[in-house]
Subunit: 103 residues, 2 copies
């Protein structure tokens, strides 16, 4: 995962990264809405749940070119991004991601 990123790659990466992050947050919010919170005691569990989701999202979404392929692979596996959204990336990068998510 040590490819060089052209200006075009960088533009596609920025857009798809934002899309994946927005979808990860949307999924989290949907899961939040599905929770039954009926008393203050449920709020202690909710606090823990939000903390874990927040830590998970911030551990995945790191905008660094050395980590972006991994971010995209995880996002595709988690359903936050479609591989097709990455079409247009330089072939070495696109094929590397495609190979990993197909494994």
């Amino acid at each position: 995962m040590d490819h060089s990123w052209s200006p075009r790659d960088k533009a596609i990466a920025r857009r798809t990264y934002d899309e994946a992050l927005a979808n990860a947050k949307k999924e989290m919010f949907t899961l939040f809405k599905e929770q039954s919170i009926a008393s203050a005691d449920d709020l202690w569990d909710l606090e823990e749940w939000i903390r874990e989701r927040r830590k998970e999202i911030s551990s995945i979404f790191i905008y660094s070119y050395s980590k972006l392929e991994l971010v995209f692979c995880i996002s595709i596996r988690r359903g936050w991004l479609k591989l097709e959204s990455l079409e247009g990336l330089s072939p070495p990068i696109f094929e590397s991601i495609k190979r990993i998510v197909s494994q």
Copy 2:
């Protein structure tokens, strides 16, 4: 606040402590329900809010006879307990609490 607690004092203390804690939690839950949570980003603020409330409640509600008078004074000031709920406590304890909350 170094009074001795009779069995009767202890029974009243247990009941009123539980009442105050339940009211503190109810108040917190009411405040939670009033919040507008419209997206995942609001959840980060919510996590922080719950953490602060949780830390506040656990710093106040310590069931130790050396601290109970303070717990009751704070609870009365915060509206979680009425002074009348403590009637029946030994006069030195009751008067000590009454004096502090009247200041």
